[in-house]
Structures are given as structure tokens and as C-alpha cells.
Symmetry: C2
Subunit: 337 residues, 2 copies
Amino acid sequence: MSDINHQIRLASRPVGMLTADAWEATEEPAATPGDGQALVEVELLSVDPAMRGWLNDVPSYVPPVGIGEVMRALGVGRVAASEDERFSAGDWVTGVTGVQEYAVVDGAALTPIDVSLAPAETYLSALGISGMTAYFGLLDVGKPETGQTVAVSGAAGSVGSLVGQMAKQRGCRAVGIAGGAEKCAWLVDELGFDAAIDYHGEDVAKALRAAAPDGIDVFFDNVGGDVLDAALTRLARGARIVICGAISQYNAQQAMSGPSNYMSLLVKRARMEGFVVFDYASRYREAATEIAGWLADGSLVAREEVLDGGVAAFPEALLKLFRGENTGKLMLRVRGE
Amino acid sequence: MSDINHQIRLASRPVGMLTADAWEATEEPAATPGDGQALVEVELLSVDPAMRGWLNDVPSYVPPVGIGEVMRALGVGRVAASEDERFSAGDWVTGVTGVQEYAVVDGAALTPIDVSLAPAETYLSALGISGMTAYFGLLDVGKPETGQTVAVSGAAGSVGSLVGQMAKQRGCRAVGIAGGAEKCAWLVDELGFDAAIDYHGEDVAKALRAAAPDGIDVFFDNVGGDVLDAALTRLARGARIVICGAISQYNAQQAMSGPSNYMSLLVKRARMEGFVVFDYASRYREAATEIAGWLADGSLVAREEVLDGGVAAFPEALLKLFRGENTGKLMLRVRGE
């Protein structure tokens, strides 16, 4: 392995749809870890819708990525050198590595992972941030009860595909909304969703009437826009809408489009609530234990789509998300197989 | 008093801004109460923003008013004749009388009121549906805690003016948003709000930054539209937005405008929740007892604006609301003083 560190940095703030000139490819020698730090050889990078939000210079739950900075990303890799007594060379870890081949990270910000229990990829999907997001968003914010109906948008994505399966684990009816017949078939045939709606080909509000005849008790929204508005017309009384994301709106050039049917919250005595998964960090272990059990007995399927091409492929990988081309968790392999 | 019953009926469904041709003035002999019913001579009618919603033929928390039906309204009046043993001629009562001079109402749907304790008007304002709406919306849905900041839109209206005062009772900072300098001065000088923002003359988001420097913990929204969007930019972490109404949107000809800044709910881990006051009917007495105490010791001011002109003045009275011309609770006197 070379000790040249290839990186992707933010070159300029994108307005509207991301384009290639937002990014700059750079290289520099891999840095040396300081006291309490480790040098991580990055193996896999998580590619997430939330990344688009990190590029905007507005107050949010994390600071925006600065111009000229290495793009923020979660990664999995192996420790190459450590100045933190908790880690040794060769250890597998996960943390915020950024889009680069070598990352110097504070040991306190790294989490060890056990690749004998699950493949490294799983620690960026069902046992990583996607799994945590689905678990706490659905169970803690959405609070589904046995027999209720859970609908999820972006259902074929990393979080959505887990939300529907976790809803089934809790004895709920699971309805997925996704783009394309193939994704919808996968949700029902492979993941056990009770119904799936193709927002490309179907009138979502009408299809929800059939798929959720008693109304939606929990709507887990990754998409926003028209899909959220359609769901608002089909709420059950006392419904909870979990705001996890709004991928349909992230590249909007004008102001985002708000949910024009929000007065359904009044008519249905419903609530819409946002959350940030990092707030649940102290409970990740609890979630991981339960999710690992489902993975082990095959009752939960985590699908990953791993792109090759190294960090140079990152800009295109991110665009795949916004074109809705991925099924399951999208990630990037940083080093050759 | 004549036994001719003058009424206002819905003639056609309005589209967009209400106009006079939505209504038809009719008259017929006052009806005779059947078994379990009472004939009520209506004295005062409540004029409410929610009435606009009752005119739309869409599913809501109550059925729409039918074409040709007497317009639905809450009223206060005296029993003229009773076939219900709980009521006798002369008793003061409140209930859904409709916009007419005489109403036959089921005794079970009437509530006796004591006009020696408070004027009849109060039973349509602080001790009536406005008071109940402010009380349960603020305290049960908004859940303000001592020292937190409560902001309310439509703050000079019947509900808003009570919300701010109740927030002060609970040890909160109260910020009102209203239209016009005169209303704002009234909120601060007479009702004890800590600050008031004139949405006609001020940039609401900017003014909220000054008036709620630590952010808004509870936003009680009667208005929707731009004001709600401005409030969303100033939420404190964990904020609760209480959706009570959206008067800025009720006469919209196109789809309502949704809150385009709703993703603040995610960033601020906040929630937006609707409610319908009728769900709290079993607890009205509890609220009325506490509100009556505040009225008695002068710590809560209920202002009413009573229009004359009888039921014929109803169409114009309702428009006053949507033009924002009222201060406090708007009502209509049905009979001469």
C-alpha cells in the first residue's frame, strides 16, 4: 500500500444539484498520529443522503464542511499506527474518517468492530449508522404498537429497508414507498414488507388508501416533498411522523417545499417529530445487540451496494443516491479487493 | 320578542376568500322542542376562524356544514321552553346553536352557565372554547416548563391573547406576534407579554432573534404561512410547535402553503403537533376552575369585541377575523341590548 493519501475535498459550495466542480481531488503523504490518535487505513466509506446537507453553510446539527476541507464521511478501516493504548496496528475500527485513504483520528472517536461476527460492510449498514437511525427513529420517536401500520418512504434505501423490517419484528404492518417496480418487488418478496408502492408509477395517496386501509400510524419519512404530502392525507388518528430526511429536497435551488397538508396534524391529532441519531450514542450498544440477533437468525436482511473506484469515485457515488439508483446501503470501497 | 327565527344559512361553498354570496338570510317560525330538547333564545354568537374550515367539503374533525343548512356556531342564550328536565325557561346555557335567533338543541348538548359569576360573554371567551383551546393546547400539547420561552402567533386574537397570559402564569417568557403596533402595545402594556412583534412592520425571524434570544421552546401557532416559517428558524432544541390553526391560509384558493423550514424539526429535535379541543371535553371543568381563579384575581384579562347587528351581521363579522381587525374574542350580539 502506498503511503500517499488520496483525498476528496470540498472545492466550492454547491447550489442546487451537485456537480463535479464542487469537489477537488488532492494527495499528500499520510500523516503521523499524535498522542491519543491513530492512523487508520480506510477500507470502506459510507455514502449518505445527509452529506448533501453538510455542504450547505447553514446552522445544523453539525457544522458545514469547510471549503478546502476533506469531505466528512463515516468509514471503516484498519489501524496502521496507533498512539492510543486502546488500539494496535491491524485493529478494525469505524469512525469519521473523511473521504480519504488515510485518516488520523482521535482514539476516543473510534469504535472497534469485530469482523469475525459480521462483515466489515455491516458496520456501515445494519450495525452502523443506518441501523441505529432506523432503530431509534422507528422505535423511540415513532413508537409503533403491535398491529399498527408503519409506512416508510425511501423504503429501498439503507435506513428505509431496515425500518420496514424492524416494524415487522414489532408486529406491525409494513408499507414501503420506493422508486421502481424492481425495488418494490424486492421489499415485498425478499424483505417481507406487506405492501410496496412505486412512486414513479402510482398515485401515492391513492395507493396508500389501499395499502393502509386503517390509516398510517407511523410514517417514517426519508424523502419529503410530494410523498410526505401524500402520507399526510392518510394518517390514522394520533399518528406519528418521524422526520429522518428529505432527499427529494436536498438539491432544491429554491426554498424547500414544505408539507402543504400539514393541517392534517390537527385533524388527526398527529405529530411530526425530528431526531438526530447521534443523540442516541449512549444506547448504540443496546440497538446493535438486538439488530445482531436479527441478522444472526436471518429475520433481518441488510443489503449493501459497494462501489469500486476508490475515493475518486466518491462524487459520482453521491449522485447515485440522489438519482435513487441504489438499493440498500450505498458505500464505496477505498482499496482494491 | 318575535317568534320569527332569523337565520344565516350556507348558500354555496366558497372558493378562496369568502364573499357575501356564500350566505343566505332566511326566516321561519321558531321551532318547538321535542322530548329531551330545549328551545334557546340565542343572545351571543361566537365568531371563529375555524368556521372557514367547516365550509370546505373535505374530511375534518367535524362534518362540513351542508349547503342550505344553518351555519354552525357556538352560542350563549336563555332557555325559552324546555322538554328536558335539566333545564327550565330562563336558564342561561351555552352550546352549538348555529347562526340564528332561536335554536332547538338536545339538552345533553347544552351546558348551563352562571352569569352571576361572570358575564355571558366570558362563556364564549376565557371560560368558553377559546379558553379551553388556549389552556389544553398550551399546557397539554405544548408542555411549557418554568423559565422557557413561549411564542404565540395571532397573539391579539381570542386564543392567542390567553395563551401568552397563561404562559406567564406558568413562569414562562411570553412573546406575541400580532398585526399592528396598537395590538402589540396592548399585549405588552395590558396583558403582560414580555415582547410583541408586529408582523406587518417587522421581519419576524429577525425580531424573534431579539425577543427569544435562547430560542422558542413552545410555539403556539394560530396563523401558519410565513409566520410559522419564521418561527421554525428560531426553535430551541426540543421545541414543541402546537398547531391550533392557520388563519393566513384558510381562504387560500390554491393548496395551502406548507412550512418550508420544517426540517428544523430534525435539526432541533423538535416536534409539531395538532390537537382538537373537543377531545378535552371531560376536562373542561378543571380548566374553567383554574381560569375562573385567574379572572377573579385579575391576573388574566379576557377581552371581547362584541358586534351588533344581529344574525344579519354575521357574514361581515366573519370577514373581520380574516382581515385581522379584531382584538380579543370576536362575537356577535343577536338581540338588542
